[in-house]
Amino acid sequence: MSLLQILKGGGRHGVPSTENRDPIGYAVAGLNRLAQSELLDRWGIRRQTERGVFTATRSGFKVAANAGRTFNRAGSRGKSGVRVPSATPKGVFDLTPTEDEQMLVDVVAEYAEEVLRPAAHDADEACAAPDAVLKASVEIGLPILGVPEALGGISETRSATAGTLVAEALAKGDMGLAVSVLAPGAVATALGLWGTDQQQQTYLPAFTGAEESGQSVPAATLALNEPTVLFDVLAPATTATRTADGFVLNGTKSLVARGADAELFIVGASLEGRPTLFLVESSTAGLTLEGDPGMGVRAAGMTRLVLADVAVPAEAVLGETDGSTYTECVRLARLGWCALALGTAQAVLDYVTPYVKTREAFGEPIAHRQAVAFAVANMAIELQAMRLVTYKAASRVAQGIDATREIALARKLCADKAMQIGLDGVQLLGGHGFTKEHPVERWYRDLRAIGIMEGTVLV
């Protein structure tokens, strides 16, 4: 930064670069510096801020990627992987889940209520999911929900509907933790959908055999976001360049869930102008991670992944290189975020409902006033609309029908209405909603992610 820029005052701290300091501005800026150093000394904060440990709560701290485990190559490279068939369409309009789906949702809902919700506040602060939460998610089978049965998973047919219902149920507990426990499953599901025999045989046993082997399921993550204004996920700035024996990746991925402990990444990069997915093991040279916490979904341990001349072998490409796999992946991830929006929005509705009935003002419960009651009614109406549009998209995916339009509409509706629900959730609790005594402020922060986040989860 040039001296002129420093003197100008703009271009930093969210101040547009066109802003200039006047004499009073200089004086205030000087005073501010003094005040800061006094504070640091008085409270001993200086030492705290110089803590030399990596924590995702802080940005700007770089570490190399987790060395992780080695994945032993298995299977044959040219052979297509195992695929599950689409669900058989019955042609009947129906809002009832299958018995299997309902059983699964019941188990997940219990886990969300008893494990995720109580852990949510602290996980949000710590920017990490507790080990117990992650372990329990493996016991339920969350990481292998979308993995074909033939490969040791639990999916007999395309499980997009089940995945949607599960993500919704989890996010009712907590969205950040839901993302944390779903991230490895996103990678496993992607391997099931697009992996070659070799990719499936190499990576999936670590997911499917985790419980028996006593090893943990690898932290894995689907990294598609980039730190770009007006980010268009279909045109990633991260590049892949062909070399004699593979590819070299360069670029930066933002909001990478659980990046700090991830052992396997799926990274989106532009290959010859077409967006493509690459499998990148964390032990590969050239990967650096920084904390990248956002306003919400913090329990997912968001990081920024920097790829500097990262060399991957030719078999690192996941799916097609014509952009089709990547685009499908983007859509399925968006569907996952819609499902998460449903759960968290439901949590808001369920929380404000008893609150407005017990909170009194002017001698009666505030729920007795139309201004309050109508806000609750609109939450219920829009949430149900979001749910139906999302379910329709999911059921199309499950049946193998093109869902481009339906996913786009679900994403738009969920982005708009879920944020409104989050906003009204805080508003209905008034000042109390603004404090951390109540979870609505966290849901408000989490729900802003809908419509922004790409990748990360997949159904």
Binding site: D94, A367, Q370, F374, A377, A385, D416
Partner: protein, 404 residues
């Protein structure tokens, strides 16, 4: 059982058939009757005969504004896509053609829905083939339908009706009127009953027709009842004043008609969306489902938002009908559907006019007409605010005295 929200396979042929009717019969005369308010759309007679034929043959599964009867075969656990879904899907298609003309369809009036929903078997048979309009609103009240002041006084084997009803859709053209009247105003809601009054009954007089913002093809009448005598057997439902049941009997009709009005809003809005998509495309606007709305043109982003809202409204409407088909209580969902479809219908039709600029505002296209027609759909059969009130009371578990 499995979640599936596609249009039911067995109803797709009906939907497509009605779409053809809407496109080839209603659209060509749409502007004509928007201009010729109060002129009788004679073209509809042939269409109504065709609809009757379909109903007779049973192939239509109750296309049009037929009511809802819940079968007694409660033991049957299979998922049904029946007459309620068929009705909302075909009404939506008809209103894609023209909302005013749909409301003018002979023998498909809201009164017919009431008869079909609450009449006993003898009445069903006796009123078969009648074109019944619905008379609830009075000059002194709209939404607060417990305020009915038209009286019905028992006199021998008859009831004698006295009062004034306004906003009676098809009030002039219908063969009979389903009239809400009170047996005893001091007993409140429970005393409100509905009566089928055939046209030509002495004392029934159509006073005048309204001039309106939209749905001009549909006549909206003021009807007075002066010592109007109807047989006691024309009372729909139970003649007892059951204060426990209260208003429930009369209000039940709304659970069945609200999804239909939601379907009207959905159909009308889709007409605007379909045309606007083409006009925008011709104007060089690309609507991309994969790229973020934020990197597309403002028009494309607006279109995506409208289509997303539309999809929500449509599916809420289907849900309410599906629940009725499967004998699930759907009062909450019916109101959700109408609230969402009503407001989305206004947003879409008005925004499409804005997007199309003077092409939308002038009578060059039908966009301006649809934005006038849609407004009533957020008002009649329970306004937006009434729907919110119903939803709020249900969600919050509050009574009408707690949440006024």
């Amino acid at each position: 059982m499995a979640i599936n929200l596609e249009d039911p396979k067995k109803l797709v042929p009906l939907r497509d058939q009605v779409h053809q009717v809407a496109m080839n019969m209603l659209r060509p005369i749409s502007r004509k009757y928007d201009k010729a308010e109060h002129a009788y759309p004679k073209e509809l007679d042939m269409l109504a005969a065709m609809a009757d034929g379909l109903n007779e043959s049973g192939t239509s599964e109750g296309a049009g504004a037929t009511g809802v009867r819940r079968g007694a075969d409660a033991g049957d656990k299979t998922v049904k896509n029946g007459s309620n879904m068929a009705s909302v899907m075909s009404v939506a298609e008809m209103c894609w053609g023209d909302t005013g003309l749909t409301l003018s369809m002979p023998r498909q009036g809201l009164g017919n829905s009431a008869i079909a929903s609450v009449a006993n078997d003898e009445q069903l048979e006796r009123f078969k083939g009648t074109w019944a309009s619905m008379a609830i609103t009075e000059p002194s009240f709209g939404s607060d339908s417990a305020q009915v002041s038209t009286t019905a006084t028992k006199d021998g084997d008859d009831y004698v009706l006295n009062g004034e009803k306004i906003f009676v859709t098809s009030g002039d053209r219908s063969d009979s009127v389903v009239v809400w009247a009170t047996l005893d105003k001091s007993l409140g809601r429970a005393a409100i009953k509905s009566f089928v009054v055939p046209k030509g009954t002495p004392g029934l007089k159509v006073e005048r027709l309204e001039h309106k913002l939209g749905i001009k093809a549909s006549d909206t009448a003021t009807i007075t009842f002066t010592d109007c005598r109807v047989p006691a057997a024309n009372l729909l439902g139970s003649p007892e004043i059951n204060t426990k049941e209260g208003f429930a009997g009369a209000m039940a009709t709304f659970d069945n008609t609200r999804p239909l009005v939601a379907a009207m809003a959905v159909g009308c809005a889709r007409a605007s969306l379909d045309l606007t998509r083409e006009l925008l495309t011709k104007a060089g606007v690309v609507i991309d489902y994969d790229r973020p709305a934020t990197v597309q043109s403002a028009a494309a982003a607006k279109f995506l938002q409208m289509e997303a809202d539309w999809e929500g409204a449509y599916l809420l409407t289907l849900q309410a009908a599906w629940m009725a088909d499967n004998r699930q209580p759907n009062s909450l969902e019916a109101s959700m559907a109408k609230a969402k479809a009503g407001r989305v219908g206004s947003d879409i039709t008005l925004s499409c006019v804005e997007l199309a600029a003077s092409v939308g505002y002038t009578e060059t296209e039908l966009l301006e007409k649809w934005s006038r027609d849609s407004k009533i759909l957020d008002i009649f059969e329970g306004t937006q605010q009434i729907q919110q009130l119903i939803v709020a009371r249900r969600v919050l578990g509050l009574t009408s005295t707690e949440l006024k």
